[in-house]
């Protein structure tokens, strides 16, 4: 493939009243893997939207091979050989792989006597997947494939149109680390064949390992560009800027001064609904207890049952009184509030204001006789804005004007305002940047220090190490390990779940190059 370039030239962009990008230039080149990183709200996703043609720049231009081009839609970008794979899968879940490959590539379906030729669709799809070295059955509905394979199908389908540039927008966000590798190794191979690749990711380890060059954005401006060898420390420094660094130094949140031996939530039996097994554990006052395990281990389910998000039988006492759960409302009345990291689906009411979103779980406290006092709602918002240092405009602005990290803080405020004894949280910092992540950890720690307790599910060993006093590792619906104190390290957590890795899922057989098998933990 010839040497081509694609990028933005002196671009500025704004949404409504908010300016998000300022004089940004960025260039992708054939055969190179370019990383794009930055905190949430730094302008990263706007850059992706501009590059993919979803929006056109307010000021400045998009350049193809150094020449200005006007992109009015993703289809225009595609005609210039630029394709984007998004965080959310664009596949039709109920259709089979072969049909999806034609759908994603937007090719005409082959016909015979005016009818769709199923046979040729299959053979075409098989040929394409074979040529790319992807081993997936073309007859299976996409929804039955593991997530990593779905991503591969999407990438392979994109390659059917022979794009010169491929933008991978958080494609590994929903994948575990082994599965991410499979996808990124594949991307690396495509680059070796001459495709220009851009990887947008929150996972710095991935960026460090797979990118030739990394561009860092902060507050809407380019603040630096790093070339191989890339150090994670440098990336973090650039992303956070001088102010963020001080906060970043606060690593471990555990506070040995306020340890308590009092069991606050005593779970005698908790039935994991999908596995049909039961576990038991105790949650101490002032403790942050982590639960982890691979998908299907039951760790998420345990946290969700306690929070009422998932219906399941649970015999437990909270502060000596019987604890009732089953729905979030019952759990809330018993003193447990649930918080999810999946803000878009499980957190925000997108049409409501920041203040109203914050007030949702404590409406009855904000007025009398069913009336809600608007000034009380605004006061609530103003006070949490300060204590949780939420970066936001007016309380009446829509919640969707905030970055992911700040939205998550609003949801934490919602949970805190309802006055729970215990917070059950599923992936507290999913899709949240490092700065906001540290702050969220500190907020949960403060809550525990003041006599509460937190039950956390996270799939990130490092997060668990920083945040928790104790971590339970689950496997197949059983607690297989309990880590505390010096034993609580990212490597120990990763190793504790290692016995599943002895039977690798079939997609691992694809191409896990020997060079890439260092386990999870970051330096």
């Amino acid at each position: 493939m010839t040497d081509r370039s694609y990028g933005l030239h002196d671009v500025s962009h704004s949404y409504g009243a908010t300016r998000v990008l300022n004089d940004v230039s960025i260039t992708l080149r054939s055969g190179k893997v370019c990383g794009l990183i930055g905190q949430n709200g730094a302008g990263k996703s706007t850059i992706v939207k501009l590059l993919s043609g979803a929006i056109s720049p307010t000021v400045g231009s998009v350049q193809v091979d150094g020449v200005n081009a006007t992109l009015r839609s993703p289809a225009d970008a595609k005609s210039h050989g630029v394709l984007t794979i998004h965080q959310e899968s664009q596949l039709f879940q109920d259709l089979d792989v072969a049909t999806n490959i034609f759908g994603v590539a937007q090719q005409r379906l082959p016909k015979r006597f005016g009818l769709i030729d199923r046979h040729r669709i299959r053979s075409h799809a098989t040929d394409l997947l074979n040529s790319l070295g992807v081993d997936v059955e073309v007859d299976r509905p996409v929804s039955t494939l593991p997530l990593a394979e779905q991503r591969l199908v999407e990438l392979a389908a994109a390659m059917a149109t022979r794009p010169a540039f491929l933008l991978l927008d958080e494609v590994t966000a929903s994948l575990e680390s082994a599965a991410s590798r499979v996808v990124l190794d594949f991307a690396r191979r495509l680059a070796a064949q001459g495709t220009g690749i851009a990887i947008i990711s929150h996972r710095l380890a991935e960026v460090q390992e797979y990118c030739d060059e990394v561009t860092v954005v902060r507050e809407g401006a380019l603040v630096g560009s790093l070339t191989k060898p890339i150090s994670q420390v440098e990336m973090v420094d650039l992303m956070l800027g001088p102010q963020g660094l001080a906060e970043h130094d606060l690593r471990k949140t555990a506070n040995p001064d306020v340890q308590s031996n009092e069991v606050m939530l005593d779970v005698q039996t908790l039935e994991l609904p999908l596995l049909g097994k039961t576990i038991n554990f105790g949650l101490h006052r002032c403790e942050i207890l982590g639960m982890t395990g691979v998908l299907g281990s039951g760790a998420t389910d345990a946290v969700r049952v306690i929070g009422g998000a998932l219906a399941g039988d649970c015999v437990a006492t909270l502060n000596g009184k019987p604890f009732r759960t089953g729905t979030p409302l019952l759990a809330k009345r018993s003193g447990v509030a649930f918080l999810s990291g999946d803000r878009r689906r499980e957190g925000i009411a997108p049409d409501m204001s920041i203040a109203d979103n914050m007030a949702l779980s404590s409406l009855q406290k904000l007025g009398r006789f069913g009336r809600v006092s608007r000034s009380a709602v605004r006061k609530l918002c103003d006070s949490y804005k300060v204590t949780l240092s939420i970066r936001m405009g007016a309380p009446a602005d829509r919640i969707t004007t905030l970055s992911g990290g700040n939205q998550q803080k609003v949801l934490i405020a919602r949970v805190l305002a309802s006055g729970p004894s215990i917070i059950a949280v599923d992936e507290p910092t999913q899709g949240v940047d490092i700065g906001a992540r540290m702050q969220i950890h500190l907020l949960l720690r403060e809550f525990a220090d003041r006599g509460g307790a937190v039950l956390v599910f996270s799939s990130d060993p490092e997060e668990l190490t920083n945040l928790c006093d104790r971590v339970l590792v689950l496997e197949d619906g059983e607690v297989v390990d309990s880590l505390t104190g010096p034993e609580l390290t990212p490597n120990k957590i990763a190793l504790a779940g290692v016995s599943q890795a002895q039977q690798p899922p079939n997609f691992l057989a694809l191409d896990v190059a020997g060079a890439h098998n260092s386990q999870g933990g970051r330096p």
């Binding site: 009243a17 300016r19 000021v59 998000a309 729905t327 979030p328 957190g347 009411a349 779980s361």
Partner: protein
């Protein structure tokens, strides 16, 4: 580098953007323009006779549309309005005729509407029947009940006590106008000021998030259908009052006018966004338009064409709003960039 970073700052959000005002004031603006125009071409329009007439004309639609707004805000739909109104008037009238008691008749009507709302709510939440199907099915059933109870004719023979109530006036306004004012006022309060109103918006905006925030989605939705049921009952009673009879064929397609008024007012059909206040302006627009067309001597059949056109036209407001948004943004960035560049030049 820092200089560049400093330029990125949010413009103050305290002053609302142009698009906000277009969105909030478009329908009231059209109504105002219509009133100014109609009063300039016709002396009769602002006469007290016509204004009273206008109020009486809008009662039925205003009642059911404001009630149904709760259902739409909760991301559901109520298509049983017209048939519910008809059945309420029939049941209430026949109870009055049979017992001679006004109170018993009114209570029968209210019970009819509230039961309808409860059944709709239970069907949608407990049995998970899509609201479109559940309420459409109920509409067909109710119309059938109303017609079969009366053999297709109207129910007359209401007690004289009711006639006095119906023709009575207070401060120059009829009884049903007062009914409308009090009901709509309460609904505005409930939707804007109570925790129930907040919860309805949350449930409509994101049901799963609302559930996880500790809100009983089932309960909220049932209550929304019951509010709609209540206004259906009041609408039925208003219809009976105006016609002095039970009308099994009355209020045909009323639910469609209600949806039109709600959407024209600016409430999202997909839930979570809008208000009862907005529905009031939607209803005013339809009714004033009808009244104006009446003044021009346009027949009922042709009026429907105009209302349909205005309905679709109102739906394009969102498009205009977005256009304005992007244009204003472009202008703003250009000017700040220019400032930043000239500042740089000065610095050099």
């Amino acid at each position: 580098m820092t200089a560049v970073a400093h330029v990125v700052e949010q413009t103050k959000t305290s002053s609302k953007p142009a698009s906000f005002w277009v969105d909030a004031l478009f329908v009231p603006g059209v109504i105002l323009a219509l009133i100014v125009y109609l009063s300039s071409v016709s002396d009769f329009f602002l006469s007290s006779g016509n204004l009273n007439n206008l109020l009486n004309q809008m009662v039925l639609l205003m009642l059911v549309a404001t009630g149904a707004t709760f259902v739409i805000l909760a991301r559901e739909l109520d298509l049983s309005i017209g048939a519910g109104v008809a059945l309420t008037s029939v049941l209430s009238a026949s109870t009055m005729a049979a017992t001679g008691s006004v109170i018993a008749g009114l209570l029968a009507g209210l019970a009819c509407g509230l039961t309808l709302g409860l059944i709709n709510g239970l069907l949608v939440t407990k049995l998970e029947v899509p609201a479109f199907v559940a309420t459409l099915g109920m509409a067909v059933i109710l119309r059938g009940v109303a017609l079969s109870r009366t053999d297709g004719g109207i129910v007359t023979g209401l007690p004289s006590g009711f006639t006095t109530l119906a023709t009575g006036e207070f401060l120059g306004l009829s009884a049903i106008t007062w009914l409308m004012i009090i009901t709509v006022g309460s609904l505005v309060y409930v939707q804007r000021q109570t925790s129930f109103g907040y919860r309805v918006l949350a449930v409509g905006g994101n049901p799963e998030a609302a559930r996880l925030a500790g809100i009983s989605v089932t309960r909220i939705k049932i209550l929304c259908f019951m509010i709609s049921g209540l206004t259906i009952a009041l609408g039925g009673l208003a219809l009976m009052t105006r016609t002095q009879s039970g009308q099994p064929n009355g209020a045909a397609a009323l639910e469609l006018y209600a949806v039109a008024a709600i959407v024209m007012g600016g409430t999202s059909l997909f839930g979570g966004r809008g208000s009862v206040t907005r529905t009031i302006s939607g209803v005013l627009l339809i009714v004033i338009l009808q009244n104006g067309l009446d003044l021009y001597g346009v027949g009922y059949d042709q009026q429907q064409i105009v209302i349909g056109l205005v309905f679709i036209g109102a739906a394009t407001v969102d498009f205009v709003r977005r256009k304005l948004d992007s244009r204003a943004a472009r202008r703003r960035v250009r000017s700040t960039l220019k400032q930043a560049r000239s500042a740089k030049r000065v610095a050099k």
